[in-house]
Amino acid sequence: MSSKIKRNVLKSMIIGVLAYMGALGVPQPAQAEYADIVINNYADAAGMRPAVFPHWFHRIRFRCKVCHTDLGFAFKAGGNKITMAKIIDGKFCGACHNGEISWSVENCAMCHSGIPGQPTHFHGSTVQRLIAPAYKPLQTKDTTK
């Protein structure tokens, strides 16, 4: 009996160690800064890492109006269909990343720094944190929309 218990204890310990190591090895979900955007409409397909746009970094330097009014960025991740051709024409990121307001476009890897294979997404959005889709109220007679 006692040898059986010993064996059991040994087995349990081995499993415990394995379970503990397993828990450490589980890939952790992304913990990027709130409002970071990964833009990957085309980059992967062209063999570049996805572009990462940090809102926090830019809003320290510019108000939202600069990009979302003056430069015409629509409020939609991936919705502006940014390409390098537009950037070197001085549109979108190219309005600043031109060697005058900010470092210039040959610093490919500063922007193309995302882990390959990630879809275009907005990091940390409330929608992503919802466990189930938000509650939709019953349809009322209101047809203003």
Binding site: M13, D36, R63, C64, H68, I101, S113, V127
Partner: protein
Amino acid sequence: MNKKTKAISFSSAVLMAAFLWNAQSHAAEMGDNQAPLMVADISAANTFNLNLKKPKSRNLPPAEDGIHDPENEATHSLQHPLDAYKGLPPSDNGNYVDWVKAIDEGKLRPRWDRFDPNAEPFVMDLDIVRPVKASVPDVVFPHRQHTEWLYCSNCHPAIFVPQRLANQISMSAILLGQKCGVCHGKVSFPVETKTCRKCHSKPKPADWEPPLSEATLKNPWK
């Protein structure tokens, strides 16, 4: 993780494994001479906090944040958010920076024009109160804080018709990323328990009672 919590989680892992193992071999023993007890497979289904997701750390440097590729050398040249936030007023949500206070206190002066560092924003101080049918405080939409950052055309008319109470807004629309949720929950402060009162900021009158639902009013058994 410090040494102590490591030790605790280690020993609890061992204990849990021991428990599962014993329960299993016990069930096997019983199976030899009588009908096996049904041992429900509860180990995975009934964990405490099944759906609670808690970020363990915040404001990580780009190389460790899970979206930047650490194998890209330039990733290591990117700024650590905490270096940028030094001296800015803290908050308990989003970037953990109170961006409104940062501007109000003059700690931050982001450009309003990308070329002209002296251009001033066109600030309009107009509060719009939106009464809420539910028991939560009424919503006050402040134009001032918004026009510090945004221009009128960022909201009018695409997101909101510029007329008091002309827009139908609800929490579910906001949580789906419409109306206030176009920005809140994405770039400006998120929608979570800690932030409800930032929007729901006008207390209800003391004698306010939530309206009774029709089902209650018509309830024949009341």
